[in-house]
């Protein structure tokens, strides 16, 4: 059976992307931005606090860290829960000790279950970012639009009510979106999303509710990629994050302020044998000087003001 003739039709083969969400743009041909006090690097730390329910259904997209042993999978359930009980406290302390800002992405179910985490985030002046309801509510095509709208609303409304913050950022569980996710989160007042890992700087996304922005979430140096998937040792994690940081720091001299995003999950980075690696990179970056620690919202606002 030959392929249908449509296999040789290329409806989007023309200048630009093969969709209408954003325009193509060469990173090195953009207007350089200047961060406060001329800092070469904005440091955007994104601790991600996720609730993995014991009864999460084994179907659809499996989120990284998702429970995959037969029910009741106490092994994985408690390892993830460890992150929210112990690991998060370690990460928060490491940030507090260095006076660093953060954007905390959180499952709204977790905010309801462990109110202490939100209180701590507020006490430390961390931004709260919507991260879905929990890790079994993975946004993908095939979910009815009304259902997904309810999920988005529930996540934003719960986090806003419990934190007292506006909550303007969104990070989809497992970086997974449906065709509608961007429209739905924008309709709920979202200003930026963390799911598109194709850039080192913010860029504009089009939605049915007006433009929002993609923030560069640096998946390649996330603890998820380096520790969980690549199985790097802590020393290798430090090398990678610092090589990333140093290159962007140098690039800033010719291309304008850059962003280093550190995406941390407490069930990965908050364990005793890894937390020192996180502290080490924070120390090394601060020692370098010229690092502006800021929330996603602050970085985006500074960037937007210069476009």
């Amino acid at each position: 059976m030959p392929l249908p003739s449509t296999y040789f039709e290329y409806p989007f083969r023309r200048p630009g992307m093969d969709h209408a969400r954003y325009a193509y743009s060469n990173l090195f041909e953009r207007k350089p931005v200047r961060w406060p006090r001329g800092a070469p690097v904005a440091l955007w730390i994104v601790p991600t606090l996720e609730f993995f329910p014991l009864d999460m259904a084994p179907k659809g997209v499996k989120p990284p860290g998702g429970l995959d042993r037969p029910y009741p999978d106490f092994w994985n359930y408690t390892l993830r829960d460890y992150g929210n009980r112990v690991g998060a406290a370690r990460i928060f302390r490491a940030l507090e000790a260095r006076g660093l800002k953060a954007s905390v992405a959180m499952s709204s179910r977790l905010a309801e279950r462990y109110p202490h985490l939100l209180q701590e985030a507020n006490r430390l002046d961390f931004e709260i970012v919507g991260h879905g309801i929990d890790m079994q509510h993975v946004h993908t095509s095939g979910i009815a639009a009304e259902t997904e709208r309810d999920w988005v609303r529930q996540s934003f409304h719960t986090l806003r009510r419990l934190s007292g913050q506006e909550v303007k950022g969104w990070y989809s569980p497992a970086y997974s979106e449906s065709h509608d996710t961007l429209d739905l989160v924008a309709a709920e007042g979202c200003e930026y999303v963390c799911d598109w890992v194709n850039d080192d700087m913010p860029y504009r996304l089009e939605t049915k509710a007006g433009p929002i922005h993609a923030m560069p979430h640096a998946y390649e140096i996330s603890d998820l990629q380096l520790f969980h998937f690549y199985k790097y040792k802590p020393a290798q994690f430090v090398e990678q994050v610092m090589d990333h940081f140093e290159l962007l720091y140098r690039e800033a001299a010719t291309s304008g302020g850059r962003i280093v995003a550190l995406s941390l999950r407490p069930w990965i980075s908050g364990v005793p044998h890894r937390i020192a690696a996180v502290e080490q990179v924070l120390e090394a970056m601060l020692r370098r000087g010229g690092v502006w620690s800021a929330s996603g919202r602050e970085i985006l606002a500074a960037w937007k003001a210069q476009q």
């Binding site: 059976m1 030959p2 392929l3 249908p4 449509t6 296999y7 040789f8 290329y10 989007f12 083969r13 023309r14 200048p15 630009g16 992307m17 093969d18 969709h19 193509y24 743009s25 060469n26 990173l27 090195f28 659809g60 997209v61 993908t140 095509s141 095939g142 989809s172 497992a174 970086y175 997974s176 979106e177 449906s178 065709h179 799911d195 598109w196 890992v197 194709n198 850039d199 080192d200 998946y219 390649e220 140096i221 998937f229 690549y230 199985k231 790097y232 290798q236 090398e239 990678q240 994050v241 090589d243 990333h244 140093e246 290159l247 962007l248 690039e251």
Partner: protein, 304 residues
């Protein structure tokens, strides 16, 4: 019909072959093959392969590849410029239509354009002979349009082929294929009509298999490249060898990998006796000076 052996090449003992002499007595022809690709957000289905691990839109995997054309390629290109290494691009030709700046930057540098199909999400699997022939012609025309070059080399899109691919490539005037990984030297490929050779590409030191699939740290990546180079360079004293460094801007162009990539280029280019070539230059030299001797050696080995 599935067969036990594709019959595309014949056995030839690795040592005691006709001696390949590269220009200026070089021991090693080194060439760099950046894969300049685009993966469609919502490609049509092919019965043999699902394009994305997740349901469309697979935002995570789409975006990770899109990084290459927005950011990675420009860093990779600047590093190659610094070391005087030209690229031979394994091109999804639709990239020229989508991102003409990328195509122009490659063309301005005098880089070779060779085929990697139309998109990396349109597979050759299940094409009829007629469809595959038309597909090759589309690619050929696009490459000529965007570079003024005649198509010489072919790495099948996403390394997907049919049993007929090699015959059709030779028929279309392609001189070298990169889909065969059976040797460290170019060799004749058995085709219905015309001449086709295999030129060594690499899945062993490819950034895709090392950095991406192999969980190799960038430091290990550099060590792997150096070790590959050292051995081929040593063997090159007995007859020219080929070393290809395949690249993907979305991988090697990441900030945390640039230093290690540059170190590898620095190591290779600081040796004497290395011919910094393109795929086409290697193929042309081999076809002109070595092909006949290799055909004769293969025939003699068969008889013996």
């Amino acid at each position: 019909m599935p067969v036990e052996d594709p019959g595309l090449y014949d056995y030839l003992p690795y040592y005691d072959r006709p001696k390949i002499e590269w220009p200026n007595g070089a021991r090693l022809a080194f060439w760099c093959a950046p894969n300049i690709e685009h993966y469609e957000l919502d490609p049509p289905p092919n019965p043999s392969r699902t394009p994305w691990p997740r349901p469309v839109p697979d935002v995570l995997h789409y975006a990770s590849r899109d990084y290459g054309n927005r950011a990675g390629i420009w860093r990779m290109m600047a590093a190659m410029d610094r070391y005087g290494v030209r690229g031979s691009i394994s091109l999804n030709v639709a990239v020229c239509d989508h991102f003409p700046d990328v195509a122009r930057a490659c063309s301005e540098r005098g880089w070779e354009f060779f085929s990697h199909g139309v998109y990396n999400t349109r597979y050759t699997y299940n094409m009829s002979e007629e469809q595959e022939r038309a597909f090759i012609e589309d690619v050929k025309a696009s490459i000529f349009k965007w570079s003024g070059q005649q198509l010489s080399g072919w790495l099948a899109p996403a390394l997907t082929l049919t049993e007929r691919t090699m015959d059709l490539l030779a028929e279309a005037g392609v001189t070298y294929t990169l889909d065969l990984f059976h040797d460290d030297q170019p060799l004749p490929v058995n085709v219905r009509k015309g001449r086709l050779i295999s030129v060594p590409y690499s899945l062993e030191i490819n950034d895709f298999t090392t950095l991406f699939q192999g969980n190799c740290t960038p430091r290990d990546y550099t060590d792997t490249i150096k070790a590959q180079f050292d051995r081929l360079y040593m063997e090159g004293a007995e007859g020219g060898r080929v070393m290809c460094l395949p690249l993907h801007p979305f991988l090697v162009g990441q900030p945390h990998r640039m230093k290690q990539f540059e170190e590898a280029l620095d190591y290779i280019t600081s040796h004497d006796g290395v011919w910094l070539a393109t795929g086409r230059e290697i193929a042309t030299h081999y076809l002109t000076h070595c092909y006949d001797a290799f055909v004769a050696a293969i025939a003699a080995h068969k008889k013996a």
